[in-house]
């Protein structure tokens, strides 16, 4: 006991290993015990017929075969790609635009920056219910506004009408909440650009577009890329937004992989198969995470 405490408090100079081990132990041990082991264990459960509240029995690849035969699964994969592509795309475009505005010499910039950050700070559930209420076809403010200006005549079921409308509506909510994150990252990148670059470009007769594509974009490329990729991971896995806004409906039009896995695992209680869904998507997630890690550590 005393030697351990001594080593902790008086580690010899230059020999960091022991201190590093002690300092890292709680965090790493926790992450191994509560993340790595359960995840590996879960992977093994995907080869069983585990049902909520019942012991699991090995059933080989049956879960995966069933998955391959479920058209809703493929619908969910497609929806995930559509949702992520458009949501991330618009978040990046709007985020950069707002950052460019905030980068102008405006007064009280910090106040505006904080206010524009608000949508991102709100708990997701709060954002979701607020938009659900605004979308409502009974007393919803969006329908009311559009009716007042004469764009529509009757109320629209933004989240319930069949067709691509529901997907559009959930993307709007996701973009509203996620844009500030891209914006703040892009703004941080913008503020590192030396002003002289623009001055000399102006002297050389470059117009605004040329300046944007030749100076601004190359300068913020890495930070923007990192923010966009991290956002992609969050968007791919945005269970709560879809689940509470549409629960995957109408007619599976907005089911993404995350909501599909919840449906299988907790509504239908087929845990083994739900984990198979996750396992199936894991290679893609790992690839993405790997890529981000390399980019982020290289930035460092």
């Amino acid at each position: 006991m005393s030697s351990l405490v001594k080593r902790l408090i008086y580690p010899s100079l230059g020999n960091d290993s022991r201190l590093a081990f002690l300092l890292l132990f709680p965090a790493v041990a926790y992450l191994v015990l509560v993340m790595v082991l359960p995840l590996s264990w879960a992977v093994s459960i995907s080869f069983t017929n585990k049902y909520v509240g019942r012991p699991a029995q090995f059933n080989g690849l049956e879960n995966y075969i069933k998955l391959m035969r479920d058209p809703i699964f493929f619908r969910a994969i497609w929806n995930t790609l559509v949702f992520t592509f458009f949501a991330v795309g618009f978040k990046v475009i709007f985020g950069v635009c707002v950052a460019l505005i905030l980068n102008e010499p405006i007064k009280a910039r910090n106040v505006y920056r904080s206010l524009l950050l608000l949508p991102w700070t709100l708990p997701a559930v709060v954002v979701i219910y607020t938009w659900q209420w605004m979308y409502s076809d009974v007393g919803g403010v969006i329908n009311d506004m559009l009716k007042r200006v004469g764009i529509i005549e009757g109320a629209i079921g933004w989240l319930s009408q069949s067709g691509p409308l529901a997907m559009f509506s959930v993307i709007v909510v996701n973009v509203w909440r996620g844009t500030p994150f891209i914006c703040i990252s892009a703004l941080a990148g913008l503020q590192t650009i030396p002003g002289e670059l623009y001055e000399s470009a102006t002297i050389d007769g470059a117009n605004s577009f040329q300046k944007f594509f030749k100076i601004t974009l190359p300068y913020i490329k890495t930070v923007l890329m990192l923010a966009a990729l991290v956002t992609t991971i969050w968007t791919l896995n945005n269970f709560v937004m879809i689940w509470l806004l549409t629960a995957g409906g109408p007619g599976n039009a907005t089911h993404i992989i995350a909501t599909y896995s919840y449906l299988v695992g907790f509504t239908n209680r087929l845990l083994g198969q739900a984990i198979a869904v996750t396992v199936f998507t894991m290679p893609f997630i790992i690839l993405l995470v790997n890529f981000i890690t390399r980019l982020a550590l290289q930035e460092d």
Binding site: Y10, D16, I106, L118, T121, D144, A188, L244, A274
Partner: protein, 273 residues
């Protein structure tokens, strides 16, 4: 020319502010209306009569218990994980040891691991250790996202503190551990507090883990409690928006308090979930 450019900048800024703020205004506006006013055919853009009816109803329905649960879980988890993170982050930022790269990579991986991948494994774990439907179950699993997040943020804060300060202290006979506690931690205190605040808000806003782990009403956190206000597909918009305001206000307040650090942290490659 310059004047014109600034004019359009302010117009664009105004449009952005309107888009960002309107839903928040609408939430507040609805929460202050009487049920009768909310349920009429045309929404009123300003409450005809401001009333706290919705908030009273919320309290009657026991929403404060949800607030209390969220508060307990968020406080315990953010304090606990910041402590473990401080040590881990110091080791990665300042010490030389074998496999340092591997461990920092592992923590970054853990940080990016989506909750939709982890929720079933964590559901199984909490069930097996008998912590299902208990706040302790949440307290057990929430550090899976706060711990990697906080560690990652703190590494960048610690790296900014000049090494010379520590070296000087060590020359004066201080140990590494001592210089960490007496020099690095106090100098990084603003960053540590900010990180803790964000860890708190992450827990405060969490939904998916709570959804699968908690089932009974007395154990529910805010995110789940709001859902309970919807009875048989009937949305009680007044209380729902009131509850949303209650859920949002602490987070907004904390963000404003710590937003300068947040922006700096983001700028330095830290990212938040």
């Amino acid at each position: 020319m310059v004047g014109k450019r600034m004019f359009f900048t302010y117009v664009a800024l105004f449009v952005c502010l309107l888009m960002a703020m309107f839903p928040i205004y609408w939430m507040l506006n609805t929460s202050l209306k009487a049920a009768r006013e909310i349920n009429q055919r045309f929404p009123t853009y300003w409450p005809e009569k401001v009333t706290t009816e919705s908030y009273v109803e919320l309290v009657d329905m026991g929403f404060m218990n949800n607030v209390k649960n969220s508060l307990i879980v968020s406080l315990l988890v953010s304090i606990g994980s910041i402590l473990a993170s401080m040590f881990a982050a110091y080791a990665i930022a300042r010490l030389n040891f074998k496999r340092k790269k591997l461990i920092s990579r592992f923590i970054f991986y853990a940080y990016l691991m989506p909750r939709t991948v982890m929720y079933i494994p964590l559901y199984i774990v909490t069930t097996n250790v008998g912590l299902r439907d208990s706040l302790w179950g949440l307290i057990l699993v929430y550090p899976t996202f706060t711990l990697p997040y906080a560690t990652w943020m703190l590494i960048s804060y610690f790296k900014k503190i000049p090494k010379e300060l520590e070296e000087a202290a060590i020359v004066d006979g201080e140990t590494k551990f001592g210089s960490m506690v007496k020099i690095v931690f106090p100098l990084a205190a603003p960053g540590i507090v900010a990180t803790m605040i964000f860890a708190f808000t992450l827990c405060w806003s969490e939904y998916l883990y709570a959804l699968v782990i908690i089932t009974s009403t007395p154990q529910k956190t805010i995110s789940l409690g709001l859902y309970d206000l919807i009875v048989d597909d009937l949305y009680a918009w007044g209380p729902l928006m009131g509850g949303s305001i209650i859920a949002a206000v602490p987070v907004i307040f904390l963000y404003f308090f710590a937003s300068n650090y947040l922006v700096k942290g983001l700028a330095e490659g830290g990212v938040k979930g």
